[in-house]
Symmetry: C2
Subunit: 142 residues, 2 copies
């Protein structure tokens, strides 16, 4: 595990944040259309917007982390090329003292993911998305 | 402005987090030596560790944001090639509704930086570091 593939910012108002980051110069071919998630194309990382309440539920659908008590609203994602690799990274994190917030499992968007919490309480998603490819440097190519 | 150059994680215990991320596979040539800041080399982004209290003070030395009330402990940085560009990006953010948490100024490590707060309360540093270079894709090269 040697990269953060996506920075996901849990936002209060998708349209407001979409317009804000677009006006700042972040690149996307999309127009605002009430889409549930937005990715901006960046050099090296992807910047993603996603509703804050849904992001908390993505970590644990039945018992989402309380946003006011420790969940900062930002998660980092490490994307790998197979379900097996997701399991391996989660086990590596567990072995090194991380709390597993979500054991790896198939998720509604067609992929496979889990979450661990680092020693500071920050959430990392470890994910396999069968629809995503990587370039030769390991960056996600949409 | 189209990238996040650095993910800085404000950490509670530098040595613990250094060992944690190193064991997970994040790449660095450094050994633990009580250094005040650590950068890991990543594909596309740099992952930085820095003490949480000092990170809050970096935003505003005299009146650091209270960590329990809104500052998540994570900042994102956008690095540019000159002081003039820092000013331009801060003005662009201001014009688009961002609060400026720190007006751009020369800082103790030899660079020039400011901070704005996005509509969700997240902190972005806009910085010029005369000691840093970029490769042809815009990534920082240490």
């Amino acid at each position: 595990m040697n990269k953060a593939s996506v920075i996901c910012i849990g936002v209060k108002n998708m349209e407001e944040s979409f317009n804000f980051y677009k006006k700042l110069g972040f690149s996307t071919k999309e127009e605002w259309n009430n889409q549930p998630v937005v990715f901006f194309d960046t050099v090296g990382t992807k910047l993603e917007l996603y509703p804050l309440d849904l992001l908390a539920k993505d970590i644990d659908e039945t018992n989402p982390p309380k946003i006011t008590t420790g969940f900062s609203g930002i998660t980092l994602a490490h994307n790998v090329a197979s379900e097996k690799e997701v399991d391996e990274v989660i086990e590596l994190a567990r072995k090194n003292g991380a709390t597993i917030a979500k054991e790896p499992k198939k998720v509604f968007w067609g992929g496979y993911s889990g979450y661990f919490v680092d020693p500071n309480g920050y959430y990392w998603e470890v994910a396999y998305n069968p629809g995503w490819k990587f370039d030769e440097t390991g960056l996600i190519v949409f």
